[in-house]
């Protein structure tokens, strides 16, 4: 028995012959070469510089799957028992690469084309034109500005959510009932919220809220004024997602060490003091997680806007996603729409990275 190497993780020792190793490598490189050659040939065919090719790209997909299968099989052929362990992860990794990396690369290519679905030419690379167009697109910048307001609104949502979590963590009667009630909005689809609240309860003529305002002598207007319209969108979105933050914060509160709180009480700390000095600092990690996830949700805000205001009045409520939706669905402007989405993705990655860095520095914890 071999007593060298990693004995803890080795079940059996393989004696793999060189010819077997060569076979495995040949399988991988052979199928890879086949796949690449096929893809190259198809690219040349599609560009009109070759007469032989396939009608669709499906055969290249099959070649890729053949390569992936050969790669998996080769792990065992070349590495034996060790290769079997790799097999636990490799198919999943290949799957992720297929469904995330390839589409992302394809999207990157598309975003530098002028692809309009109605165009008979199909996608044609157009250099930096889409970026220039984006730079001069007041609708996009307007939507980005709106996103700043929407993201800032998360701070208010956080305060409300924390308050509700404290309330539901306290010894109040019917606590379980209120926990469920406060969670209900989160269970509703934002589309349902759009119609139930935005298009029905806030309907200017016969919506119940409008009637109450009119009965009180006021003239209701919810989506006619840019500022009020933006606030109403924020309010509807907040109503839906505050329970999400609340439930996370509530879980954090329940996990707080009771002995620390009891000790503060023994030391004579007031309610405000124990919140300020103990609860809030201890809750910071949970708070940061809740706020960051909420911001990520917020950056995707679109459904309520699309259903209630379509971005109006005059773009006052437009989010980047709702604008891209119009660019994509209504105008079939795939190239430009994809570029906007890619730029937005980059902005989000930068923003969230900076946010996490700042938070970790503030909390003096490694990111």
């Amino acid at each position: 028995m071999n007593t060298d190497g990693d004995l803890l993780h080795t079940v059996t020792t393989d004696n793999i012959s060189d010819s077997r190793k060569r076979l495995g490598k040949l399988m991988v490189w052979g199928t890879a070469l086949f796949c690449v050659m096929l893809a190259l040939q198809q690219t040349i065919y599609q560009s009109g510089r070759a007469s032989i090719g396939f009608e669709t790209w499906r055969p290249i997909l099959y070649a890729y799957m053949l390569w992936a299968t050969a790669l998996c099989a080769a792990q065992v052929i070349v590495n034996g028992e060790k290769g079997k362990r790799t097999l636990f992860v490799l198919p999943a990794a290949l799957f992720v690469i297929s469904l995330v990396v390839f589409p992302l690369l394809f999207a990157l290519y598309i975003s530098f084309t002028d692809w309009n679905l109605a165009s008979p030419k199909g996608p044609q690379p157009n250099g930096w034109d889409n970026l220039v167009q984006m730079w001069n697109d007041s609708f996009y910048w307007n939507a980005l500005t709106n996103m700043v307001y929407y993201v800032l609104a998360v701070s208010v949502e956080y305060v409300i959510a924390f308050g509700l979590a404290l309330l539901l963590n306290a010894q109040i009667s019917a606590r379980k009932f209120f926990r469920i009630v406060f969670l209900l909005p989160l269970m509703l689809s934002p589309v349902a919220v759009s119609w139930m609240i935005g298009k029905s309860m806030l309907e200017v003529r016969f919506g119940p809220i409008s009637r109450i305002i009119r009965d009180l002598g006021g003239e209701p207007t919810f989506f006619g004024n840019p500022e009020i319209a933006r606030f109403m969108i924020m309010a509807m979105d907040a109503w839906t997602f505050i329970p999400f933050m609340m439930i996370m914060l509530l879980a954090g509160l329940q996990a707080l060490p009771s002995e620390v709180l009891e000790a503060s009480k023994v030391d004579g700390a007031s309610g405000w003091q124990s919140f300020k000095e103990i609860i809030f600092p201890l809750m910071l990690p949970v708070s940061v997680t809740a706020v960051v996830i909420r911001i990520i949700f917020k950056l995707k805000l679109a459904d309520i806007i699309i259903n209630v205001t379509s971005g109006g009045p005059g773009g006052a409520t437009d989010s980047v996603t709702s604008f891209i939706f119009r660019e994509y669905r209504d105008r079939s402007n795939v190239g430009y729409g994809t570029l906007l989405a890619m730029v937005y993705l980059v902005l989000i990655v930068i923003f969230v990275t900076l946010l996490l860095k700042l938070v970790s520095r503030w909390m003096e914890r490694p990111a």
């Binding site: 006619g224 319209a229 009045p313 005059g314 773009g315 795939v334």
Partner: protein, 541 residues
């Protein structure tokens, strides 16, 4: 017929017991007649199918659709022998709105399948998914269907790219195309002089108004406006007055000021067509030789200015800036807010049948209002003459056979036979009289005697459907360009209009210029030369 229209007519007319019994007796008698006799006896078929299931006898079901399909097989039998398409499989892509469209087609075509031996596979799509699915199929060249139910605005995308099969002569004869209302005749349904479309529907916007707002002693004290200038005056005069029905503030014309996925632009077109659609040219959106937008010419600017003036005057209901066409029709006009509106057939039909409608007894109809002057784009000057130009918004649904059947004569004939069956003269009469999702679109559909005999109230049918007929056959009907990406133009225009209405542009001219600039970009992106050629083809030039 649109479902709501059917319900409306049922509610609007006063059908007595005797009429009901007449209908039932006739239906009973029809059931005893051999099917072949019915199918063969052409003159008889029209009267007999209108009794299935009978007006006031509940909504038709699948068995009714199959009965109608069976009785209307005469045309098919004249061109196809029994079992001729044995072994042929066709795929049909259409809508499933309101459980109509494809649902009816299945029933209509079941007897056709039994007779011809062909088999049809179905792709049902929701309206919201339809455009994206079709655009993707077009863009990727992956038409996985042989027959499609499609709106005429997409003809530029599909016919312009040679994706459809040309209609054979025998189909033209079978469906009697001469019977189409004028605006559905060529160039609609044709491309490059070739015919592709079997029409199964017609569409236009008609004028709906509140009778209690007009006439002697009414809140306005004047006749129903017939021009946009009068409409604007009335709308301003009504500011501060009280609605006679609801007691809430009175309002005049209801312009939707919010976009609606491109469809909202049709409503600015309603105003603009009277100003911009000069009888001397079919073009009113683009100049045919250059694709230069006409949307910023004085006629269109006038239309935008009208709306801006009414906004400034405070003539619209509160929050109108957030009102899309659906809101103006169903939450405002039908609910008693506002007195004038342009819309498709649904508004008239919902007036009496919808639970939220309060205007059923006071709704009147007409064609798109005229203008006291018209802009002559060729001369670059206004002409002081009255101009009417009904807006044929969306042009209606048709059945098209795809080029996928080319190269297989048997399959091609089968596909066209199925399309011809659905667009048959008799079958279409039934579809226009009962809930189907389709409006009348043939001159023969407006033979009111047939409707009366079937049990409909003649006065109402004449009044309401008459406004459609007058629009369809108008010599200066404004027909939208069937060019690729037409809804892209509409959609971007909606965004710019929203900015203009919100006061973000300095004037109507600036707003119109912004639309024109955006349209130019789209034209360049799709390809100006190809757009010019398809635009000319769509105009029959």
């Amino acid at each position: 017929m649109k479902v709501d229209l059917y319900n409306y007519i049922k509610a609007a007319q006063k059908m007595n017991r005797r009429q009901m019994l007449k209908g039932s007796a006739a239906l009973g008698a029809a059931a005893m007649i051999p099917k072949t006799a019915l199918a063969g006896g052409h003159g008889n078929v029209r009267a007999e199918i209108l009794k299935i299931p009978g007006v006031g006898a509940g909504s038709p079901t699948d068995s009714d659709w199959q009965k109608v399909g069976e009785m209307c097989l005469g045309g098919t039998k004249g061109n196809v022998s029994e079992g001729e398409f044995e072994g042929v499989e066709l795929t049909f892509m259409g809508l499933n709105n309101q459980n109509l469209h494809n649902f009816l087609f299945r029933g209509f075509l079941k007897p056709w399948e039994a007779y011809t031996g062909a088999k049809i596979n179905w792709i049902d799509l929701a309206q919201a998914d339809y455009n994206a699915r079709l655009q993707q199929s077009i863009a990727t060249g992956t038409a996985d269907f042989d027959i499609i139910e499609m709106g005429a605005p997409f003809e530029g995308d599909v016919l312009g790219k040679g994706m459809a099969s040309e209609m054979p002569e025998w189909v033209k004869e079978q469906i009697d195309m001469d019977d189409y209302v004028d605006y559905l005749k060529a160039p609609v349904g044709t491309w490059g002089g070739k015919t592709y479309r079997v029409s199964i529907d017609g569409d236009c916007h008609t004028f709906a108004y509140r009778k209690d707002y007009f006439g002697e002693g009414s809140i306005t004290g004047r006749d129903v406006p017939t021009t946009w200038q009068e409409i604007n005056e009335v709308s301003k005069d009504l500011i501060g007055k009280e609605d006679p029905l609801t007691g809430l503030p009175a309002h005049g014309y209801l312009d939707p000021l919010k976009g609606w996925g491109g469809f909202g632009f049709y409503f600015l077109e309603n105003r603009a067509s009277a100003y911009a659609k000069h009888p001397n040219s079919p073009a009113w959106l683009f100049e045919p030789n250059t694709m230069k937008p006409m949307v910023n010419n004085p006629a269109w600017v006038q239309a935008i200015q009208d709306v801006m003036d009414l906004i400034d005057a405070g003539a619209y209901p509160t929050d109108q800036i957030n009102a899309d066409p659906g809101t103006t029709a169903f939450q405002q006009f039908l609910a008693g807010t506002g007195s004038m509106l342009m819309w498709w057939g649904d508004v008239g039909s919902n007036a009496r049948t919808s639970d939220t409608s309060v205007v059923g007894d006071v709704a009147g109809f007409g064609i798109n209002p005229a203008s006291e002057r018209v802009y002559n784009a060729k001369a670059g000057a206004w002409e002081e003459s009255r101009n009417e130009a009904p807006n044929m918004a969306y042009i209606g649904w048709g059945v098209y056979v795809m080029a996928t059947v080319e190269g297989d004569d048997k399959k091609k004939k089968a596909a066209w036979s199925a399309a011809a069956h659905l667009g048959g003269k008799d079958l279409s009469l039934w579809a226009s009289a009962y809930p189907s999702g389709f409006q009348p679109y043939r001159n023969s559909h407006f033979q009111y005697d047939e409707w009366e005999e079937a049990g409909y109230d003649r006065a109402y049918v004449e009044d309401y459907l008459g406004s459609n007929a007058d629009s369809y056959n108008h010599p200066n009907a404004a027909i939208e360009p069937r060019i690729p990406g037409i809804f892209q133009y509409y959609s971007v225009a909606e965004d710019e209009l929203a900015k203009g209405y919100a006061g973000q542009y300095g004037s109507a001219q600036e707003t119109a210029d912004a639309i024109a600039a955006a349209w130019e970009k789209i034209t360049d992106q799709i390809g100006r030369d190809s757009q010019i050629s398809v635009y000319k083809a769509s105009l029959g030039m």
